[in-house]
């Protein structure tokens, strides 16, 4: 998921405007949340097994949720720019 967020960020600068915006949007606003859900489901399963212990100082679920929220916002920016290009 972190990799996805990094790609989403880099996509703002690396690729052609429209493509990068589309990629940023798809990664940040779609792929990122899906990955988060996947993570949560897997995390729930681990917790249900009763043998799972979270990090003490860095709650991973909260961190992943924050990063995903950031990526989602960036994805929103991307989709706005993409929409701008589409409305020229």
């Amino acid at each position: 998921m972190l990799l996805a967020a990094a790609i989403a960020t880099l996509a703002l600068f690396l690729f052609e405007s429209s493509f990068s915006n589309a990629a940023g949007f798809l990664v940040g606003s779609l792929a990122g949340p899906v990955m988060l859900g996947w993570f949560l489901a897997d995390d729930n399963a681990r917790r249900a097994a009763g043998r799972y212990g979270d990090w003490a100082r860095l709650p991973v679920r909260r961190l992943a949720s924050a990063v995903c929220a950031l990526g989602w916002i960036l994805g929103g920016v991307h989709v706005y720019f993409l929409a701008q290009e589409l409305t020229r």
């Binding site: 606003s29 859900g37 489901a41 249900a48 009763g50 989709v79 290009e85």
Partner: protein, 1001 residues
């Protein structure tokens, strides 16, 4: 007539004949009162012959005494001559202790020969010595020959150590008792015939003596005048009155003609009727001595006539001689008249050092006639008195031309001639110095004197009083104010400074001392007229702000105003019409010239010859002086300043269209098409010319973007001299359409310089510029925002669906194989007395001995079963995001048989069939509803391998157990519990939802 009176009368004529032409009544001091207020009449002024000029600082006297044999009769033993010489020695009383004033005496005697007895030496009681006197008056036997005496006297003067001193008064005291008789022919005439050759020789000798005295360049007269020797001829009259025969008469006339020539004293009794000898007429006519050669021819002829006439026949005719003398006298009178007019020139020729020196025709001596030889002593004493006065009198030293004459003060000012005279105070008495005008061009000013420049005021003082002890006084002539605009450019005044001196010894004796004429020139223009100085060559700067422009030659002329009136310049050029540039900030010291250029001037440098003249107006506006008329013409070219002004139009710097080698290639840089016209910096800079103007416009345009018109702001750019350089920017004509632009534009800029002398299209500069248009079409921001929101919404929905699928795809129940359970039964008891119900097993859980039970998975795999308990996975609702994402193992418990769950841990949200979250395990308490008392059980579900006690202890179950026991024991609780207790389980259908037991407060 006394000698004094004779001297006075002679000197009066002397003074007038000297050409000084000073009417006594015109002398200011003569008509003004003396210091004590007593008026001085003109006839009181003593104008006696003054043998010494006013500036005399020493005297040389040559006493030449006749020692011929005749004196043995007239002055036997030389008694009178001794008395005379001893009287001379009395002059020493005059000298006193004054070492500065010296009287030197030389004593000589003559007859046929001349004998020097004492050379020049300061006169004293021992000089001349008694021996010298005795030798000089010893009886002689010789004849009378003036020539030897004159030559001996001149030799003394010329060889004197003070011969060059112009302030030395030189007196030749010449005493003779008889006429010229070198060969003793007169006295012995009775013994010689008229035809005797000795008579002829004597007359020829006399004739030659006269000629030598007057004609030759080194004549006695010239030598005497060069030394400024005043000759006092003392003649015993008796011998000069005899006319016993023609020879005697002829020799007498020639003798008197000689003395007349030497003294120019025409008033003497003996000489009054004697005419100048033709050879000596120039000394009476006033002609310059240098002209004597011309007269000399006449003299020669006369001399030759006389010489030939010296033949006894001619000269012997006394009648003819007398006639001739009469006629000569008449001519002499005429000459005397004309001589007065010529004296000025002679006086001028005498120079500054010759102050008081008589010119030609002026009396430079006197003839004293003695009726008796006793008068010789009186004559000597008269000279001594005169010398005494000379020593005591004030001294006047004037310059014929002052060192400095100028006009001072504000317009019109007045003149000051500085240091015209220096006056030495007299030794006694009072002196009054005044100035009088002989001539004044200005005619409207008067003159006065000032003894101090600092206090000089217009007009000065009418007279300056000088007293003994005042020392040396410098005098300046000061005029009254000039007559304003009527003051001519240059004026001249001739002044005479006069001193009236009343000696202390004789208050009635008023002596006058006059300076020679003093020429004063004062220049109005020098004082007030501005000076104009112009450069010879100037290069004009071109100013072509407005075509055809003009040229300005800066600081061409310098006008130095002297604060009187206003000045203006008249400027005329050959090719251009020049005019002075008005003064800037009041500074008119320099003047620049300006001229308008005319069409047709080329850029070839040319020169314009300009004449500049100055016009000067007085403060009242009168034109005082104009160096040029309005056409630039002047009578005197010197009044014009010629200036050559070079006009070089080629010095004009042309305009320049300077375009960068790397013009901007992209306009827009991928941005959106602006809604206003597009401005593109061409990268070109237009530099203005220093002359004319330049216009830049777009002449061609080519664009791949279609019909997009481009232009310069305002259509064209025009620059002239003084403008700043501007970058050229092209602007599209109107906004570009909203579309994508990726096109190139080529434009051609054309700069044309327009100036006089440049044909249209002659000076054109073109630059081709290219740039690229790169614009995107403008977007719709609102629509883009809506689309973005929509996309985000879709993404969120999609995400949620995926989440729901992912998170609900597996149940969250623990693995049944990993669970283990203990079941502890308990029962309730009832106190009969109080009816209290209690569950003691719940109060002592540590003593439990539970039964082990297995947890098994349900048939559908979606639930866990523990005896009557069924634990089902709790699937959250679609919108329960928290429940969906939560990691808690939520489950729903239900009781399979009669009974119900009264408590569960971890606490669910609803008792009974409430969800319960599995963490380390779960504790479930249930009650059996059958019987008067209720039995119940506690199920402790935990992970296999754990100790259930740890679970109960860690979860603080003890409190929960007691709480339940307490609630069972309270009637009301019981009632409530009964009310809360669900009815016995029906065979089918879900059990009623029990009320959650209330915790004890």
């Amino acid at each position: 007539m006394t000698h004094r009176a004779r001297i006075g009368s002679i000197a009066a004529a002397f003074s007038l004949a000297a050409g000084m032409a000073i009417p006594l009544s015109a002398t200011p001091a003569a008509g003004q009162g003396s210091s004590d207020g007593e008026a001085v009449r003109a006839d009181e002024v003593h104008t006696a012959f003054q043998p010494c000029p006013a500036n005399t600082e020493g005297v040389e006297v040559v006493l030449a005494l006749d020692q011929s044999g005749s004196l043995t009769v007239e002055d036997p033993g030389g008694r009178d001559r001794r008395r005379a010489i001893e009287a001379v020695r009395q002059f020493t009383e005059i000298l006193g202790e004054d070492a500065d004033f010296n009287i030197d005496l030389a004593l000589l005697s003559f007859d046929t020969e001349a004998r020097l007895h004492a050379g020049f030496e300061r006169i004293s009681r021992s000089h001349p010595s008694d021996e010298d006197i005795a030798a000089a008056i010893a009886d002689g036997v010789g004849d009378t020959d003036y020539r030897k005496a004159l030559e001996a006297a001149l030799e003394q003067f010329e060889n004197s150590s003070r011969s060059g001193d112009r302030n030395t008064c030189r007196i030749l005291f010449f005493f003779t008792d008889g006429i010229l008789d070198p060969f003793n022919t007169v006295a012995r005439l009775g013994h010689v015939s008229a035809a005797d050759q000795r008579v002829a020789a004597a007359e020829a000798h006399a004739e030659e003596l006269i000629r030598d005295a007057c004609l030759a360049p080194a004549s006695y007269k010239n030598r005497l005048k060069d030394l400024d020797v005043r000759t006092i001829a003392v003649l015993w009259g008796e011998s000069f009155r005899r006319r016993d025969n023609s020879h005697q008469g002829s020799m007498t006339i020639k003798s008197l003609q000689l003395f007349l020539a030497l003294t120019a004293d025409e008033t003497s009794e003996l000489i009054r009727d004697i005419a100048y000898h033709p050879a000596c007429e120039q000394w009476a006519s006033g002609e310059a001595a240098s002209d004597s050669g011309a007269s000399g021819s006449g003299g020669d002829s006369g001399a030759s006539d006389s010489g030939s006439g010296g033949d006894s026949g001619d000269s012997g005719s006394s009648g003819s001689g007398g006639d001739s003398g009469a006629s000569d006298s008449g001519s002499g009178g005429d000459s005397g008249d004309s001589g007065s007019s010529g004296s000025g020139g002679d006086s001028g020729a005498s120079g500054s050092s010759g102050e008081g020196q008589p010119g030609a025709g002026e009396p430079d001596g006197q003839v004293i006639t003695l009726d008796d030889i006793d008068g010789l002593v009186e004559a000597i004493e008269e000279v001594g008195e005169e010398l005494d006065l000379v020593k005591r009198q004030p001294r006047l030293d004037c310059r014929p031309v002052p060192s400095e004459s100028e006009i001072v003060g504000d317009w019109p000012g007045f003149a000051i001639a500085r240091d015209i005279c220096t006056v030495d105070a007299p030794e006694d008495g009072r002196a009054y110095v005044s100035v009088s005008e002989i001539a004044d061009d200005a005619g409207e000013v008067d003159w006065g004197l000032s003894s101090g420049l600092s206090a000089a005021e217009p007009g000065g003082e009418a007279r300056v009083e000088v007293e003994p002890g005042d020392g040396e006084l410098d005098l300046h002539a000061v005029s009254t104010l000039f007559p304003g605009d009527r003051l001519s450019r240059s004026s001249r005044a001739t002044l005479v400074v006069s001193i009236e001196w009343r000696p202390e010894s004789d208050q009635s004796d008023v002596r006058a001392i006059h300076s020679p004429p003093i020429e004063i020139e004062y220049d109005r223009d020098a004082a007030f007229q501005p000076d104009l100085t112009c450069k010879d060559w100037v290069q004009a700067s071109v100013d072509r702000d407005e075509l055809p422009g003009s040229v300005v030659a800066d600081e061409v002329c310098e006008v130095s105003s002297k604060g009187a009136g206003e000045t203006s310049l008249v400027v005329v050029g050959d090719r251009l019409d020049w005019e002075p540039v008005p003064c800037q900030n009041g500074d008119c010291s320099t003047s620049s010239l300006r001229a308008d250029l005319t069409d047709g001037l080329t850029y070839t440098p040319f020169e314009d010859e300009v004449r500049v003249g100055l016009q000067w107006r007085s403060p009242s506006g009168a034109l005082l002086w104009s160096g040029a008329d309005e056409d630039g013409q002047a009578a005197d070219r010197d009044d014009l300043e010629d200036v050559v002004i070079e006009i070089d139009l080629s010095q004009v710097e042309p305009p320049h269209l300077d375009c960068s080698d790397d013009p901007p290639e992209v306009a827009g840089s991928g941005g959106e098409v602006p809604e206003e016209p597009v401005r593109v910096d061409t990268g070109c800079i237009l530099r203005p010319p220093t002359g004319g103007q330049v216009t830049v416009e777009i002449v061609e345009g080519d664009s791949s973007a279609g019909d997009i018109a481009w232009a310069l702001p305002d259509g064209a750019v025009t620059l002239g001299p003084g403008d700043d350089e501007v970058p050229l920017i092209v602007v599209s004509k109107g906004p570009l359409p909203n579309m994508r632009f990726d096109d190139s534009v080529d434009l051609k800029l054309r700069a044309e310089w327009q100036a006089p002398g440049i044909e249209q299209g002659e000076r054109v500069e073109e630059e081709l510029i290219s740039f690229h248009l790169d614009f995107k079409a403008r977007s719709n921001n609102l629509l883009a925002l809506l689309l973005a929101l929509l996309a985000l919404l879709l993404a969120a929905v999609l995400t949620w669906l995926v989440w729901y699928w992912l998170l609900t795809r597996k149940d969250r129940l623990p693995d049944a194989d990993r669970l283990f359970a203990w079941k502890q039964r308990f029962s309730t008891t009832t106190d009969d007395a109080s009816g209290r119900v209690d569950a003691p097993d719940l109060r002592n859980w540590r003593s439990w001995n539970p039964e082990s039970r297995r947890v098994v998975r349900g048939a559908n795999g979606k639930s866990l079963k523990l005896e009557d308990l069924e634990i089902q996975a709790d699937k959250p609702s679609f919108f329960d995001i928290r429940g969906l994402t939560s990691g808690d193992r939520a489950a729903r418990l239900s009781v399979g048989r009669s009974g119900w769950i009264v408590e569960a841990w971890p606490p669910g949200r609803r008792a009974g069939s409430l969800p319960v979250a599995f963490q380390r395990g779960a504790v479930v308490m249930g009650l059996n509803a059958s019987g008067p008392t209720a039995d119940g059980a506690v199920w402790v579900i935990f992970n296999r391998g754990d100790d259930w006690r740890d679970l109960v202890r860690d979860a603080k179950m003890e409190g929960m157990f007691r709480s339940l026991a307490d609630r069972l024991g309270r009637p009301e609780e019981k009632d409530m519990g009964e009310e809360a207790l669900p009815p016995p389980r029906r065979p089918s259908g879900p059990p009623p939802r029990p009320e959650r037991p209330r915790r004890p407060s």
